[in-house]
């Protein structure tokens, strides 16, 4: 690939608070912890929703959590290019917040609330400039990456 082609096709995270590491095949969700009361949030809110403090400190969130609920989508929203049906899993992180995204590498029969899930990155699609959109997903902890 020429240098021009390499530069023109990048890996871009699907949301601002997904930090890609290395060549973009690894990453971590970023959050914020309140320096005053210790509560934790996904993303980078200016003020703590619990106590109102502006002392918000950036934090890398856990890459694992526990499945708190799920659903199987048979009629996807506009723009979805992945499998249909697909599974959405809501996972509670040890820090408190819950993260909702697709569950991969698991069969419907194996899904159980309470099961440990770990973060896995996948290519979600390409944008109009040919960049790969990297999406964080959940997979069961006992499966290999």
């Amino acid at each position: 690939m020429s240098e021009a082609e390499e530069k023109s096709s990048q890996r871009i995270p699907v949301v601002r608070n997904l930090k890609l590491l290395g060549d973009g095949t690894d990453g971590v969700l970023m959050g914020a912890v309140c320096g005053s009361c210790g509560e934790c949030f996904v993303g980078s809110p200016e003020f703590c929703a619990n106590c109102g403090s502006g002392d918000m400190q950036e934090k890398e969130l856990s890459k694992e959590g526990v499945l708190s609920t799920y659903t199987v989508i048979y009629v996807p929203p506009p723009g979805w290019t992945g499998d249909v049906p697909y599974i959405l899993g809501q996972v509670r992180l040890a820090e408190g917040p819950e993260v909702l995204t697709e569950m991969v590498d698991c069969a419907r029969e194996d899904i159980k609330i309470g099961v440990k899930m770990v973060l896995a990155l996948r290519v979600g699609g390409k944008d109009e400039n040919g960049n790969e959109i990297i999406v964080h997903k959940w997979r069961p902890a006992e499966k290999s990456a």
């Binding site: 871009i12 699907v14 949301v15 509560e39 929703a49 619990n50 708190s68 609920t69 799920y70 659903t71 199987v72 989508i73 048979y74 009629v75 996807p76 929203p77 506009p78 723009g79 979805w80 290019t81 992945g82 049906p85 697909y86 959405l88 809501q90 408190g96 917040p97 909702l100 995204t101 697709e102 609330i113 979600g124 699609g125 944008d127 959109i133 999406v135």
Partner: protein, 378 residues
């Protein structure tokens, strides 16, 4: 808590355009029909209205409220166009209420309308990279709650399906409803799966429709030709949005919003005679009742299966068919709920009439999350 009203406000009249699909009618035409019905029901002339509040979501051009009222002859009054997702017209109604309660206006018009495109409803703007997440799906958010509720309380999916079955039965008695036919439990459960466990007939239809209500300060009702025998008092209103404490559990937002409205009205859930809740998905028709304190948390599904939410039950709910059978023209739904409560409280609900109701409560949700609770009394 925003404070108490300075004077009593009443609903003087209500109106609806039927909900359904009306491709030959513009949103302006449909809404004017609902407004004219409300003005006639109130006994006031359009010229007497001092302010107008309009709830709608989808874009049909700027200043849609002005565009609609132009067809009634613009009078120069302040017109407020309001959006709060599915709770847009409840929000518009609450804004009008506080203005009248505070003495800013004596007589105000509130209305809501929508023409909803077919297909799944998205909350976010389309086209961004988030379309690759597959999470912007209104029914998915309800399905996630449904699954958690089933696990936690052992509720069968039949309890959810029953919300739709009952809604459609009620709507056969309602000429304004989008769907006016019976759906059996089998048809509902066997319809196409949308977001497990919610099948197509457990998701409210998208619809066109419009609703309107005229409100007035009680102390000046005699200035207009409003029938004082048909007034319904606005006893309590509250509007809240998501907060940190919602992490404590399910539907905490409804609990705290209802608490605020009950406090303003000086009543408790035991005083409520007739109910409207936001059954965009069937499971919400149950968990919102729990949030309003009308049934204990986790027991709503049993109440539903036992017939407790029927017109002759302990907690008559969505007597007109709710979102499930009326359909859900987003901006029109809030005031449509109030239309049914007013009709019930006046004793004018015909075959849908609840026995001698005095207090009605309407819970209208919106993405965001928004919760509105309005209590009416007669």
């Amino acid at each position: 808590m925003p404070g108490m009203p300075q004077r009593e406000v009443v609903v003087a009249g209500v109106g609806l355009h039927p909900f359904g699909r009306f491709p030959e009618k513009s949103i302006e035409e449909m809404t004017r029909q609902a407004i004219l019905e409300a003005l006639k029901d109130a006994g006031v002339a359009y010229r007497q209205i001092q302010a107008a509040y309009f709830g709608h979501v989808y874009y049909h051009g700027m200043s849609l409220g002005e565009g609609i009222l132009r067809g009634l002859g613009l009078t120069g009054i302040p017109i407020f166009n309001v959006e709060n997702a599915c709770s847009s017209s409840s929000t518009a109604f609450e804004m009008a209420f506080w203005a009248v309660a505070s003495g800013v206006y004596d007589l105000a018009l509130t209305f809501g309308a929508e023409k909803v495109p077919r297909g799944p409803v998205s909350v976010g703007a389309t086209g961004g990279p988030q379309r690759f997440m597959g999470t912007d799906h209104m029914m998915a958010s309800y399905a996630l709650r449904a699954r958690r509720y089933m696990e936690e309380f052992g509720a069968p999916v039949e309890a959810f399906a029953h919300v739709a079955e009952k809604a459609h039965r009620n709507a056969t008695l309602n000429p304004y409803a989008h769907y006016q036919k019976v759906f059996t439990m089998e048809e509902i459960l066997n319809s196409r799966m949308i977001a497990d466990p919610l099948t197509l007939y457990q998701c409210c239809p998208t619809s066109d429709g419009a609703s309107a209500a005229v409100i007035c300060a009680r102390e000046v009702v005699s200035r207009y030709s409003i029938d004082p025998k048909r007034l319904v008092s606005i006893a309590g209103v509250a509007l809240q949005t998501s907060a940190f404490e919602d992490r404590l559990g399910e539907h905490v937002i409804a609990v705290r919003t209802a608490r605020e409205a009950y406090e303003m009205a000086g009543i408790g859930p035991e005083d409520v005679d007739v109910v409207q809740v936001h059954d965009a998905a069937t499971n919400a028709g149950i968990f919102q009742l729990e949030g309003l304190g009308l049934v204990e948390r986790g027991k709503g599904w049993q109440l539903e299966l036992d017939g407790g939410t029927e017109i002759d039950g302990r907690v008559p709910t969505n007597t007109d068919g709710g979102l499930q059978a009326m359909g859900h023209p987003l901006g029109a739904t809030g005031i449509r709920m109030l239309h049914e409560l007013v009709t019930q409280l006046r004793g004018e609900a015909g075959g849908r009439q609840v026995k001698d109701p005095h207090i009605g409560i309407a819970e209208n949700s919106g993405a965001g999350e928004v919760c509105t609770v309005i209590i009416l009394k007669r």
